[in-house]
């Protein structure tokens, strides 16, 4: 037993020590059986001490060696910093999204309720369906519903209007998520009684409007004229899951869903979070929900046929929309890391090879190969560690620079930062990088080579074996760089394709506002709404920088969409083929402002007023989809005028198609939805946005003018924000832009690393062959011939790398085909450009070494002898 332990401990000693003393130690322990445990412990301590001692020597040896080559050290550290920094930055995002626990109690058993149907699976549910989920099965323990509300209510503070942003929830919602107010109380069932108006406000709202006065608890505030009593104040930065907005975000306030919330089983407009019963998995819950869905479809065919209820993990809410992008970028940084290691490996191979006489001398003095390898790994590890420190700093800076874009993509739900997990990841990367970058060049360091080196010390003998390893490393680098640059090129092309998608409108000189909501007093009656609209339009049209102005409920990139049934007069429909279209209410100038063409009939005029004959304009898509075989002009369609009532309205014009969002590409079979426009004057609205076409170029000035004009026209409306259409499009495409930006940066890094790798090999090979070049020049070789020779060698290596890289790139491109839109994953333009870029890089990298070779002085070259 003791011998067994002793042998086990001995394995911890270096091999040479074991060979020298192993047997003797075992014999010693047998001969002296006193205090066996203490002796074994001592043996173990000895092993650790010996390793620490060796490590300490290796470190000081490495530091001494590295001090003598500051340029080399700087380049290696920088290379490592790029590779490790990119990894740490992306890991931090991954960590925040995937690994870090969600900020809710029992987050593991929380699920998002989804409804599946013709439009796909959406995180929304109707209130009756939600309550049946709970009562008809056993897998759901509790369910809470939430609505992000439609209009932003106005609160008057010191006579000034402010728009607030809140949610309405079932009374159990907050408690279910483990969210308790910092001050005051949470909601109870009593808060849902009719006539009770209680509100919980955010810490931010409390500080901003109430000076953090705890006395506001119990006080009433007026939202849109309705008094609400403050019963609680949330913790700072409290995040709330909002499935119907597909986000986890902070909000100004929380109210209880009003008693008149729609009980329509077909109104799947509420978000719902459920708690799974103890021991129930998502799969089991979904099996039961499938049965409940079938039962509901039989009981309520009108609203529930073809619909299915299901649940998904809460994390999917923030993760799902960005998951693919995240994986692509993660794969890319792993690629960068490999390139980094190949590159450093290459530099180390050059350094450790023939010219490193110091190593050869150590070897000659009796150090074993293993011992030297260990010392060299320590050297690599030190470089990687310093590189990691610089890299982590780079990652921090990068995340800071990108924080704006990241926050928009991830909807405020996660805080990205370096934490213990990121640092641990950095350390793990250091180990991997040390092994990869440190071990490969050792393949070039065979035992025999070292002796060869000693013999040919003066000349720096070229071991063809070492050369082979270095060539292979450059091939790996080039291949990975090709794959990376190709993927980023394809993503760039698809991004350019995306932002250039025609929206069917002009995209320059347009300034738009966010939705403004009329105050209490003007909101309730149509006359006041119409008067407010006219007043705003008058103010806007009077602005010096404005060429034309319009009001609309929706417009392209407004980030909202209302669909309503629009039956055509004289036709009958079943539930399945009922015509749906996007309903928009616009002022007469709308089509002119957006540059849309009236294809048939006429545009709206000021004569289309309340009281005149009701008119509508439809888009081409509407005609194609719903009016086949009819003359659209004069056809009549039903325009929704309240719950399940239509007013027959005559179509007076057909307008060219506009696309409501550049990123959505589904409305059945076309990215353009059928649209029906009604004059705002005939169907006045409480909320709308303004759009102006600027006369001069400066959108910022016009934006400010528009804000002032709105404030003057309607002083009781909260201040509006203004944007250019370009800004709206940029906002809509921010995720694609972020992914593309990251990939392009990584592609650029890959190219730079390949450049430095090729340069290293070319430069090294020229140095090795100085003598040969000298002789050839003496015998009449022209400089052109020498340059061609050097370039030829590099281009052969590059070609091998390109061949491997193209295969790798094709695989990578096929993997991301879903992200590429209309661009083919084998897009010849991208592939050709990338190959050309790599060859250009190779030539660029070998130019200086080639010229150096051609200028070798024959006499000089002999000195290398």
């Amino acid at each position: 037993m003791r011998a067994f332990f002793a042998r086990a401990i001995l394995l911890g000693y270096p091999l040479e020590f074991r060979a020298q003393f192993g047997e003797e130690i075992l014999d010693h322990l047998e001969s002296d059986p006193r205090n066996a445990a203490a002796q074994l412990f001592d043996l173990l301590r000895g092993a650790i001490a010996m390793h620490l001692d060796t490590f300490g020597r290796d470190v000081s040896y490495a530091l001494r060696r590295l001090r003598s080559a500051p340029l080399f050290v700087g380049i290696v550290i920088l290379t490592f910093a790029l590779g490790i920094g990119a990894n740490v930055a992306v890991f931090s995002v991954f960590n925040a999204l995937v690994l870090r626990p969600l900020p809710f109690a029992h987050a593991a058993s929380l699920v998002v309720v989804e409804s599946g149907g013709a439009l796909g699976v959406l995180p929304a549910v109707s209130l009756p369906d939600a309550s049946d989920m709970l009562t008809q099965g056993h897998s759901i323990a509790d369910i809470g519903t939430v609505s992000t509300g439609s209009d932003a209510p106005t609160m008057l503070v010191g006579g000034k209007p402010f728009a607030l942003d809140g949610i309405e929830v079932s009374p159990n919602y907050l408690a279910m998520l483990g969210i308790a107010p910092e001050l005051g109380r949470g909601f109870t069932a009593a808060d849902a009684r009719p006539g009770v108006h209680n509100i919980i406000i955010s810490d931010e709202m409390w500080r901003k409007y109430f000076g953090a006065d705890p006395g506001v608890l119990g006080r009433a505030i007026s939202l849109d004229g309705q008094p609400y009593r403050i019963v609680g104040i949330l913790h700072p930065h409290q995040l709330l899951p909002l499935p119907n907005a597909e986000a986890i975000a902070p909000k100004d306030f929380v109210m209880v869903l009003p008693a008149n919330s729609t009980r329509d089983r077909g109104a799947r407009m509420y978000g719902a979070i459920a708690v799974l019963a103890p021991g129930i998995s998502i799969q089991r819950a979904n099996t039961e929900l499938a049965l409940i869905s079938q039962r509901l479809a039989r009981a309520y065919p009108l609203s529930n046929v073809g619909m299915s209820l299901s649940v998904a993990g809460l994390r999917d809410l923030v993760l799902q929309p960005v998951l693919t992008s995240l994986w692509i970028v993660f794969a890319a940084v792993i690629g960068i890391l490999l390139i980094t290691c190949a590159n450093v490996g290459n530099m180390l191979a050059a350094r450790w090879s023939s010219r490193d006489r110091e190593l050869a001398i150590r070897r000659a003095l009796g150090a074993s190969t293993g011992r030297i390898a260990r010392a060299l790994l320590t050297e690599t590890g030190i470089l990687a560690l310093i590189g990691a420190v610089v890299g982590v700093a780079l990652a921090q800076i990068t995340l800071q620079l990108l924080s704006g874009m990241i926050a928009r993509v991830l909807s405020e739900s996660v805080t990205i930062g370096l934490d213990l997990a990121s640092l641990s990841y950095a350390l793990a990367i250091v180990v991997v990088a040390t092994l990869l970058a440190g071990l490969t060049p050792m393949l070039a360091l065979r035992v025999g080579d070292l002796q060869l080196v000693l013999k040919s010390a003066g000349r720096g003998g070229d071991s063809s074996h070492g050369h082979w390893v270095r060539g292979a490393l450059v091939v790996v680098e080039i291949a990975l760089a090709i794959a990376l640059v190709t993927v980023s090129g394809l993503m760039l092309r698809s991004f350019i394709d995306l932002v250039n998608t025609p929206l069917g409108i002009r995209t320059t000189g347009l300034v738009v506002t966010n939705e403004m909501t009329l105050p209490i007093g003007q909101r309730e009656n149509a006359t006041a709404q119409a008067a407010a609209a006219r007043r705003i339009l008058r103010h806007l049209q009077a602005l010096p920088g404005v060429d034309a102005a319009a009001l609309a409920v929706e417009y392209p990139e407004a980030d909202m969409e209302f669909e309503e049934t629009t039956p055509v007069f004289g036709r009958t429909y079943t539930r399945e083929n009922a015509p749906w279209s996007t309903a928009d209410y616009v002022s007469p100038g709308y089509f002119r402002v957006f540059g849309e063409r009236i294809l048939r009939g006429r545009a709206f005029t000021d004569a289309d007023r309340a009281g005149s004959a009701p008119v509508a304009i439809v888009n081409e898509r509407f005609v194609a989809k719903y009016l086949q075989g009819l003359n659209p002009i004069g056809a009549r369609v039903g325009v929704v005028r309240g719950p399940s009532s239509h007013r027959w309205t005559t179509i007076v014009g057909v307008v060219s198609n506009e696309r409501l969002s550049i990123t959505t590409d589904t409305f059945g079979d076309s990215p353009v939805s059928p649209e029906l426009f009604t004059p705002l004057a005939q169907a006045p609205q409480a909320s709308f946005s303004a759009i102006v076409h600027t006369r001069s170029g400066d959108a910022t000035t016009v934006g400010r003018e528009v804000q002032l004009a709105v404030a003057q026209a309607l002083p009781s409306v909260p201040p509006v924000q203004t944007y250019t259409i370009g800004e709206r499009i940029a906002n809509d495409t921010v995720q694609a832009r972020l992914t593309t930006t990251l990939l392009l940066s990584l592609g650029l890094i890959a190219l730079l690393l390949a450049l430095s790798g090729i340069f290293g090999v070319a430069s090294f090979s020229v140095t090795q062959r100085v003598h040969e070049f000298g002789v050839r020049i003496t015998h009449g070789a022209t400089s052109t011939a020498i340059v061609a020779d050097v370039l030829r060698r590099i281009l052969v290596t590059t070609s091998i790398g390109v061949a491997c890289g193209l295969i790798l790139a094709a695989c990578a491109a096929s993997a991301i085909v879903a992200q590429l839109g209309t661009i083919s994953p084998f897009d010849p333009l991208t592939f050709a450009t990338v190959v050309a870029l790599i060859f250009l890089t190779a030539i660029l990298a070998s130019l200086q070494p080639a010229l150096r070779a051609s200028r070798v002085e024959p006499a000089e070259s002999l000195r290398y002898e």
Partner: protein
């Protein structure tokens, strides 16, 4: 010098020994006050070998698991130098009456 290294050198001053015998000798020189366990002894031996203070003579004739070591010329000079240093120190200690038999007596 590490006192344990000095003891090892002492134990080899007059005869060659194997590792276990060195430990035994040190124990008897110090009346059992210094016990060199394998975890301490052999790493020191390795260092002594590397520094060339002791020389390995090969396997013991009686037991092939044991190897015999002797002091090298360098090791002997080092041991002598250390002894002289200690001797000088002891002289000083005597002159300060820290030890009996001092110069002033």
């Amino acid at each position: 010098m590490n006192p344990r290294v000095f003891y090892i050198l002492l134990s080899l001053a007059q005869e060659e020994r194997h590792g276990y015998a060195i430990a035994k000798a040190v124990e008897s020189i110090t009346d059992g006050a210094v016990r060199l366990t394998p975890g301490t002894l052999y790493p020191l031996m390795r260092q002594l070998l590397l520094d060339g203070w002791i020389v390995e003579l090969g396997e013991d004739a009686h037991d092939p698991r044991r190897r015999r070591y002797r002091l090298s010329a360098l090791g002997r000079r080092v041991a002598q130098a250390e002894s002289r240093r200690l001797d000088a120190l002891v002289q000083v200690a005597r002159s300060f009456d820290l030890l009996p038999g001092g110069g002033r007596a």
